[in-house]
Amino acid sequence: MSMLPILQTQDPYLERLPLLLREAFTHYLPEPWHTLSNQLISIVVILSVFGLLFAILTLAERKILGHVQNRPGPNRTGFFGMLQPFADGIKMLTKEDIVPVAADHVLHLLAPVSLLAASILTFAVIPYGKNLVALDIDTAALYFFAVGSATELSVFMAGWSSNNKYSLLAAMRALAQLISYELPLIISWIPVVMVASTLSLTRIVSLQSGYSFGILPHWYVFTPWGFVAFALFMVSALAESNRSPFDLPEAESELIAGHLTEYSGFKYALFFMAEYFGMTALSGMAVSLFLGGWNAPSPYLTFIPSYLWFAVKLLSLLAGFMWIRATFPRLRIDQLTRFAWKFLVPLSLINLVTTAFWILSQNWGHLYFIPRLIITLILIVVPYILLSKKLGRGYAVRTYTYAPQ
Amino acid sequence: MNDQTLNLCLLFSSALFCIGLITTLSRSSTILILLGIELMLNSANINFIVFERTQPDVSTSHGTLFVLFTIAIAASEAAVGLALLIALFKHQRSVVIDDASQLKG
C-alpha cells in the first residue's frame, strides 16, 4: 500500500493535509495495525465522499435538468432544496420492498448488492491526488475494467431473477448494449497503455505531468490519438453507465424501468446509486487516463493542491454528462448497436494503428514534427469521414426479429 | 512456499480437474459439459501459476504467459462451443448431448 512516502517536505502543507490527518488518526494505534487501519480509513473516506457526491449529484442533475427545461426543479426541502436527496433516501428506505412471488429471491436480492459492490470496488485504484490512492497496484487499469465488467452479470441477474418476461427481454437488451459498448470502451484506452507502457494509473498520471513551452500540459488528450481516444472513451462511457442518449435499459418513458421493473424501494435506490457510482468512476478513469489526473493545467497553478484539481476535472466531466442528458434525444436500439459496431469499434481499432505510428515516429526529431502530426491526423480523420459517411447513409430498416413476419 | 502449501495447491487443482471431469461425464446438458471443460482448463492454469512460484527460474515468467495463452484458447473454445450448441439447438430443439447421435454407426 503506497500511502508512503508521506513526508515529502517539498510538497506544500495543503498537499500533505489528507495524509497528515490520517496520521493523526493512526499514530495512536500499535505498529502492526497501521496498514489495516490505513486501508479502513481510505475505504471509509471513499465511501463517505462518494456517497455524499451521489446525493449532491442527484440534486444537481434534477436542478440542471429543471433549469434547462425552464422549471425551478426541487426547491422545497431545505434551503434551495438542498435536503432533497436525503428526503429521497428516507422515502426509499421506508418504502415497502416488493418481491414477486415467483421471483428467485436470492438473486433478486443479490443483483443490486453485487452491482453496487462492483461499482464501489472500481474506486479503489483511481489516484485522487499525489500519494492519494487506496490501492496502488501494478495492474490498476486492468483491475478497473475487470471489476467493471462484473456489472453485466448483475444486470442479467436482475432481469432473470424477477421472473418477468419484460424484465428478461429488457435485460437482454441492456446486456447487448453493455457488451457492445464495452469493446470500444476497452480498446479506446489501450493507446494510453501503449504510450505509457504501464497499467499502473499512478504511473500514467505522473507521466502526464510536465509542460511543453511551459504552458501546454503533457496530457494525453492534447495529442491527436489521445483526443480521439478520449472522445471514444467518453461516448462509450455514456453508454456503459446507461446515460442518455444511450439510456435504453431503463428508458422511463418507453419501457417501465427495463430490467428494474420488479424492483422497488431501497433495492431500486441501490441500482440508482450504482449507476451514479459507475458514471463517477468512469469519469475519474477518464480524468486519470487522458486529462492528466491530478496534474494542474498550468505550472503557475500548482499551488492549488492536487486533489482539488482532480475534483474540478471530475465535476466538470459529470456536468458534461448532465448537459448531454439534457440535450440529446434517445437513440433506437438498432441505431445504438449499429453505432457501436459500425463506428466506434472500427474507429478505435484504427486509433490503435494511429497510436502505433505515433510511437514509432517518436524519434523523428523536431524538424519532422509537423509532418508527423499531419500524417497522424490523416490517419484518423480519413477513416472518421469514411465511417461517418457509411453510418449516415440511411438508417437500417427495422427488422422485427420476434414479431411474426 | 513450503511443501504443504504446494501439496495443498496441487490437490486443489486436481480436485477441480476431477470435478470438471465428473461433470463432463455425468451431465447431459451440453452447456454444462463445456463448462466442465473450462473448469479443467482452469485447474491446469492453477498448476502453472503454482509451479512458476516454486521454480527458481525467475528470469522469464513462462508460467504466466502460458496461462495467458490458455485463457485465450479457453475463451475461443467457449465461444465456438456455445455457437455450435446454438446451431445444434436450431437443428433439433434440444441441447441434450445424446440427442445429437445421427451419425452413429
Binding site: - | 471431469l21 463432463t24 461425464l25 447431459s28 448431448i97 445424446d98 445429437a100 447421435s101 445421427q102 451419425l103 452413429k104 454407426g105
Partner: protein, 673 residues
C-alpha cells in the same frame, strides 16, 4: 558513375519482371502491359548506356561480378555478370532496337486479342537475350540461350491457330536443339577439362591465358586438338541459333510469326546470339591457331561454313516471292558474312557488321511489317506494288535500309562493315574462296534487294481487292525513321579512317588507315554493287510487272535454276528424304521390335502367369475357400459385435476416454514409484 552488379543485372531483369507482372495481369488491360514492357525496356536501355559509358572508361579490362550459385559436394558452381565493351555495345543495340520494336508492335498488334500475351513474350525474349549478353559464365549463358529458344518457340508459334505457324515454331525449336546438343556437349567437356565455366575470373576463367594454354596442350583421340573439338561443338550451337548452312532451314519458316517478332529475331537478338557467342568465346576459338599438327582449325571451318551460308542465302533470296522470306534469306547470307568474318580472324569486323546489320535489318523488317500492315497482311510481292506513292515514309526509310544492306558506297553503314569483311577476306592467307564468294554475294544482295524494291514499291498496285493503302501511324513511322537514321550513322563509328568501335572493342587502339585502304577490292565491290543494282533496275523497274501472274524475268531466262532456287535448293526436301526417312525407319524398326520381340516374350510370361493362376484358383476353390468362408463369417459377426460400441452416445466415448486417462495415470505412477 560505376554500375554495381545489381544495376547490371537490372538490364535483363527489368524486362523479365515486366513480363512476369504482365502475365499475372488480366487480359483486358493490355495497353498497360504494353506500356509497362516498353518502359522497362527503355529503362534498361538507359542503364546499358551508363554501362557503355563505364565500359569505355577503360576498354582493356573485363569487370566481372562472380558469385557462387550452388554447391555440388565441394564443387561450387559459380556464375557471374560481365561488363566489357562487347557486352556494352550489344546491350545498347539490343535494348534500343527492342524498344523501337515494342513501340512498333503497339500499333501492329493492336487488333490482336492476345496482345497482352504477345508483349509478355516479347519482353521475356528480350530479357533472355540480354541475359546471354551480360552473363560471365557459359552456364548462365546456356540457360539464357535455352530461354531464348523457348521464347522464340512461343513467338514464332504465336498465331498457333495457323498450322504453318505451329509447324514453323516446332521446326525452329527442334533445329536449334540439334545445335544446342553439340553446344551442351562442348560445355560439359569444357567443364570437365577446366573445372570452371566462368569467362573471366581474375586469371582463372576459361578465356584467360593460362587456362587456354593448359587446354591447348591436350589432344583428343582423333589427333584433333581438344580446343578444336570443343570449339566446333560450341560452334554447332552458334550455327543452330544463327542459321548457318546445315541448320539454316528453320529461319525462313520462322517468318510465320508476327512481323515484329521476325524483326526481333532476325535483326537484334536470336540470330545475333550465335555470332555473339563465337565473338565472346573468341580466345578459345583461336586458341588452336598456333597448333601445327592438326587436320584443320576451328576458324577455318567457321569461315567456310559462313561463306557457304552467305552464298546460299543470297542465291535463294533472289528467287522468293514472299517479301519476308526474301529478307529472311538475306539475313541468312548476312549472318554467313559475319561468321565468315569471325572465321577469317577479324572478329571486330564481324561485330561491326553485326551492329550495323542489326539496325538496317530491323529497319527493313519493320518496313516490311508496315507494308504488310498497310496492305492487310498481303505478303506476296507479286500482289503488292506501287506503294511508294501511298506510303512515302515507309518507302524512304525502306530504301535507306535497302541501300545499307546492299552496301551502297560511302554513305551507308552496311558499306563500311561489309568492306571490312571483304578486306579481311582479301587478306586471308589460307584460301581465296571466301573473297570470291563474298564478292558474288555482294552483287547478288544488291540485285535481289533492287528486285524487292521494284516489286513492292514501284509500278501500280496489283492487289486483287482494290483497297487504297495509306501510311501507318506514328507508332510505326517514328521507329522506322529512327532506325533509318541509325542505319546511316552507325557506319561512321567504324570507318577505317576512324576505327573508334574497333579500338573500343579490341581494348587496344587500332591504328587508323586511309579511308580507301580497300583499294582495288573496294573498287571491285563498288562496281559489283552498281552492277547488281543496275541489273535489278533493268529487269524489275524499267519493265515493271503489270499483273500478279506474269512470270518472273529470271524465270524466263533460266527457268531450271530459278525453280531450283525457288524451292530453296530442295534442302528441306533433302532433309525429309534423308533424316526424315531415317527417323521413320528407326521408328518402324523400334515399333516392330516392340510389337514382335518384346511383346511376344511378355505375352509368353503372361501366359505362364495365367497358367499358374488357374492352378492356384483351382486349389483355392477346392481346398481353402471353405475354411476362409467360415472365418470371414466369424469376422463379420465380430464386427457386428464391435459396431455396437459405436453407439453415437457421446458419454460412452467420454467414459472410455476418461477410463483410459485413469489407466494411463496409474501406469505412469506405478512406473515412476
Amino acid at each position: 558513375m560505376t554500375l554495381s552488379a545489381t544495376y547490371l543485372s537490372l538490364i535483363p531483369l527489368l524486362p523479365l519482371y515486366a513480363a512476369a507482372l504482365g502475365v499475372l495481369l488480366p487480359k483486358k488491360n493490355k495497353h498497360f502491359v504494353s506500356s509497362l514492357t516498353i518502359i522497362a525496356m527503355a529503362t534498361s536501355f538507359i542503364i546499358s548506356l551508363f554501362a557503355l559509358n563505364q565500359a569505355l572508361k577503360n576498354t582493356s579490362i573485363h569487370s566481372t561480378y562472380n558469385f557462387s550459385w550452388f554447391n555440388l559436394g565441394q564443387e561450387s558452381v559459380r556464375i557471374g555478370i560481365l561488363l566489357d565493351p562487347l557486352t556494352a555495345f550489344m546491350a545498347v543495340m539490343v535494348t534500343f532496337i527492342s524498344t523501337l520494336i515494342f513501340i512498333f508492335s503497339t500499333s501492329y498488334m493492336k487488333e490482336d486479342e492476345n496482345m497482352k500475351q504477345f508483349f509478355c513474350f516479347l519482353s521475356f525474349f528480350a530479357s533472355a537475350m540480354l541475359g546471354i549478353i551480360i552473363s560471365n559464365s557459359l552456364l548462365l549463358l546456356f540457360i539464357s540461350w535455352e530461354l531464348v529458344g523457348l521464347a522464340s518457340y512461343l513467338l514464332i508459334g504465336f498465331w498457333f491457330h495457323k498450322p504453318e505457324a505451329a509447324a514453323a515454331a516446332k521446326k525452329a525449336f527442334l533445329t536449334t536443339r540439334i545445335g544446342d546438343l553439340g553446344f551442351l556437349l562442348g560445355i560439359l567437356w569444357l567443364y570437365h577439362t577446366c573445372g570452371t565455366l566462368l569467362f573471366y575470373d581474375h586469371g582463372h576463367g576459361i578465356l584467360e591465358h593460362h587456362v587456354l594454354a593448359s587446354i591447348a596442350s591436350q589432344a583428343t583421340i582423333f589427333g584433333l586438338p581438344l580446343v578444336t573439338a570443343i570449339g566446333l561443338l560450341i560452334f554447332c550451337g552458334a550455327a543452330g541459333k544463327s542459321g548457318q548452312f546445315p541448320l539454316h532451314v528453320w529461319l525462313p519458316d520462322a517468318m510465320e510469326g508476327p512481323t515484329p517478332v521476325s524483326a526481333l529475331i532476325h535483326a537484334a537478338t536470336m540470330v545475333a546470339a550465335g555470332v555473339f557467342l563465337i565473338a565472346r568465346m573468341y580466345p578459345l576459338m583461336q586458341a588452336d591457331q598456333f597448333i601445327i599438327a592438326t587436320p584443320f582449325h576451328t576458324l577455318t571451318i567457321i569461315a567456310f561454313i559462313g561463306a557457304i551460308t552467305a552464298l546460299l542465302g543470297a542465291l535463294i533470296a533472289g528467287s522468293q516471292y514472299d517479301i519476308k522470306r526474301v529478307l529472311a534469306y538475306s539475313t541468312i547470307s548476312q549472318l554467313g558474312y559475319m561468321m565468315m568474318a569471325l572465321g577469317l580472324g577479324s572478329w571486330l569486323a564481324a561485330i561491326f557488321h553485326l551492329l550495323t546489320h542489326a539496325f538496317f535489318k530491323a529497319l527493313l523488317f519493320l518496313g516490311a511489317g508496315s507494308v504488310i500492315h498497310a496492305s492487310h497482311h498481303e505478303q506476296d510481292m507479286r500482289k503488292l506494288g506501287g506503294l511508294s506513292k501511298s506510303m512515302p515514309i515507309t518507302f524512304a526509310t525502306f530504301s535507306i535500309g535497302m541501300l545499307a544492306l546492299c552496301g551502297f558506297p560511302f554513305l551507308f553503314s552496311g558499306f563500311w562493315s561489309k568492306e571490312a569483311i571483304i578486306h579481311a577476306a582479301y587478306e586471308w592467307p589460307v584460301s581465296i574462296l571466301p573473297l570470291i564468294i563474298s564478292l558474288i554475294a555482294v552483287a547478288l544482295t544488291a540485285f535481289y534487294m533492287t528486285r524487292l524494291m521494284g516489286e513492292v514499291f514501284f509500278g501500280t498496285s496489283r492487289a486483287d481487292h482494290h483497297h487504297h493503302t495509306h501510311e501507318n501511324k506514328a507508332q510505326m513511322t517514328v521507329p522506322l525513321s529512327l532506325l533509318a537514321l541509325c542505319a546511316i550513322a552507325v557506319g561512321f563509328i567504324g570507318t577505317p579512317s576512324w576505327p573508334w568501335l574497333q579500338s573500343a572493342l579490341n581494348g587496344t587502339p587500332v591504328e587508323a588507315e586511309g579511308l580507301f585502304k580497300g583499294g582495288i577490292v573496294m573498287l571491285g565491290s563498288i562496281l559489283l554493287v552498281a552492277g547488281g543494282i543496275g541489273l535489278g533496275w533493268v529487269l524489275y523497274i524499267r519493265n515493271l510487272r503489270t499483273n500478279a501472274h506474269e512470270e518472273d524475268p529470271l524465270e524466263t531466262m533460266i527457268p531450271g535454276t530459278f525453280k531450283l532456287l525457288g524451292s530453296r535448293l530442295k534442302i528441306d526436301e533433302f532433309y525429309t528424304a534423308t533424316l526424315g526417312k531415317l527417323n521413320t525407319a528407326l521408328a518402324i524398326l523400334s515399333n516392330g521390335l516392340d510389337r514382335y520381340v518384346w511383346d511376344l516374350s511378355i505375352q509368353g510370361l503372361a501366359k505362364l502367369g495365367q497358367l499358374s493362376g488357374s492352378i492356384n484358383y483351382a486349389m483355392d476353390e477346392e481346398a481353402l475357400n471353405q475354411g476362409f468362408n467360415v472365418t470371414s463369417e466369424k469376422i463379420r459377426q465380430s464386427g457386428v459385435q464391435y459396431s455396437k460400441a459405436q453407439s453415437g452416445e457421446t458419454h460412452g466415448y467420454l467414459r472410455v476416454f476418461a477410463i483410459t486417462v485413469v489407466i494411463l495415470t496409474l501406469l505412469i505412477i506405478t512406473l515412476w514409484s
